[in-house]
Amino acid sequence: MVAAMWIRSTMAYRASFVLTTFGNFAATGLDFVAIMLMFSRVDALGGYALPEVAFLYGLSSVSFGLADLAIGSMDRLGHRVRDGTLDTLLVRPAPVLAQVAADRFGLRRLGRVTQGVLVLGYALVTVDIDWTAARLLLMPVMLLSGAVIFCAVFVAGAAFQFVAQDAAEVSNAFTYGGTTLLQYPPTLFARELVRGVTFVLPLAFVNWLPAAYVLGRPYPLRLPAWMAFTPPLVAVVCAAAAGTAWRAGLRSYRSTGS
């Protein structure tokens, strides 16, 4: 029902919808083109061949795309906080988080997911994986946990906007920036950075760790083998932390003067 309304709302501006969906698809597609261009010069990036990088890229893009599709409109929260239109959401008997997420259902964001799925498909066909039951099972678990982790980052970023009001770019650095980081092999980055995205902002659990297991690669930071199966746990912890931050943010909401 609500989804149908989003679609109708979007279709009120049909041309814009078609253009932005296509634009989204093309813009994200260019990311991968950039990687392919690099590979026309080198054979491996941080020890990863093109199909393996495509694997990382696809996982990160799909996870992120799903999160972005669900609650990517969180970055509009800053506007709503500043112009006071958040008030109207607060007097309705539905969770504000859901309402903000549903605010502008980003159908156009389908472009990103589609592109991620295509790259992931290409990777699965070309990369040489020794499929076991555990590895097969890890695939959907990894994508889902990854999406939840990104959602948590979106929500935490939104919660921060209650305080900062106009900090969409700060949280974008972690969401959009994070997904770009994950599209490259961990071996490319400094140890400190890898440590940061493992233990502080646990983005490494979206794809680096579990993908290393699936690909039979050495783990970044020499972590123990069972760590590859922790993403669901990490996702739950992240979601809980983000939820707490969100509630704190909502309580400190000050509305506007009228």
Partner: protein, 325 residues
Amino acid sequence: MTGVDTAFIEVDRVEKVFEVRRKTGLLKRERRQVRAVDALSFTVARGEMVGYIGPNGAGKSTTIKMLTGILTPSGGRLRVAGIDPSRERTRLAHRIGVVFGQRTTLWWDLPLIDSYRLMHRMYRIPDARYRENLDRCVELLELDGLLDVPVRQLSLGQRMRGDIAAALLHDPEVLYLDEPTIGLDVVSKARVRGFLRELNAERGTTVLLTTHDLQDIEQLCSRVMVIDHGRLMYDGPLAGLHEAGESERTLVVDLERELPPIEVPAPARVVRVQGPRQWVAFPASQSAAPLVARIAAVCPLVDLSVREPDIEAVIAKMYAEKATA
């Protein structure tokens, strides 16, 4: 009456403090605390229709926002229908309706009827109830031809009526209206007021209304509360407010020709003469009729009009009195 009925809305020594940061240097910032609402206490009984007035920045909207759960009070106790608004905001939402005059709660890009359908789902209104309430609102607020029009294409008056209908589909027990007639023309104002009167009389809906328009209060509310600087200055009938503020109405009379100031019985007095036009001030609590009759008897009268005192003037007078007392 039970306790909840006599104190359906209960505000007990509530305060709201905002921290304002001001830039004083390149990076230095000065923190200052602003008390938007200061030790405010009042109760509203079920079925009452109360006007809540005060100058800009007095704390009206802040109060309403605390009563709806949008803002969390810094101190004090607040209950609406026995519910603590900021703790159980969504539970309260089913029992209250809110209309913000300045911004719409409707979906901007969708036809009006779609917004109502979404409300239907969101508030889980039983189908029969929804249809009945919608029909009633459409009829009384004259929304007939507007249901298929996207909200962004509605005029201000149409949108306001659409907003009021949206706030009432789930049969709220309390209706908060924040400046419901702001920017409306005379006809739309009359329509909105008529509807609210009927709603209160028929359904017993408790109404709390903030406004700048004294006529809203005069025509709708038996009780008025005045707030300024976050404190309750007055709580009682509107007539009493005029007495407390010694506010005056002004009778403007146009005579056939220039005449010396008309002799009128005290406390009425002529305050200004300009050519054939004269201004006569008289207490707002009195009727204008005897005065008009009196003037008509002694002077050749061409035309006349009565000017109401505005809220700011009334409140200013109340202040002046408190200062001298």
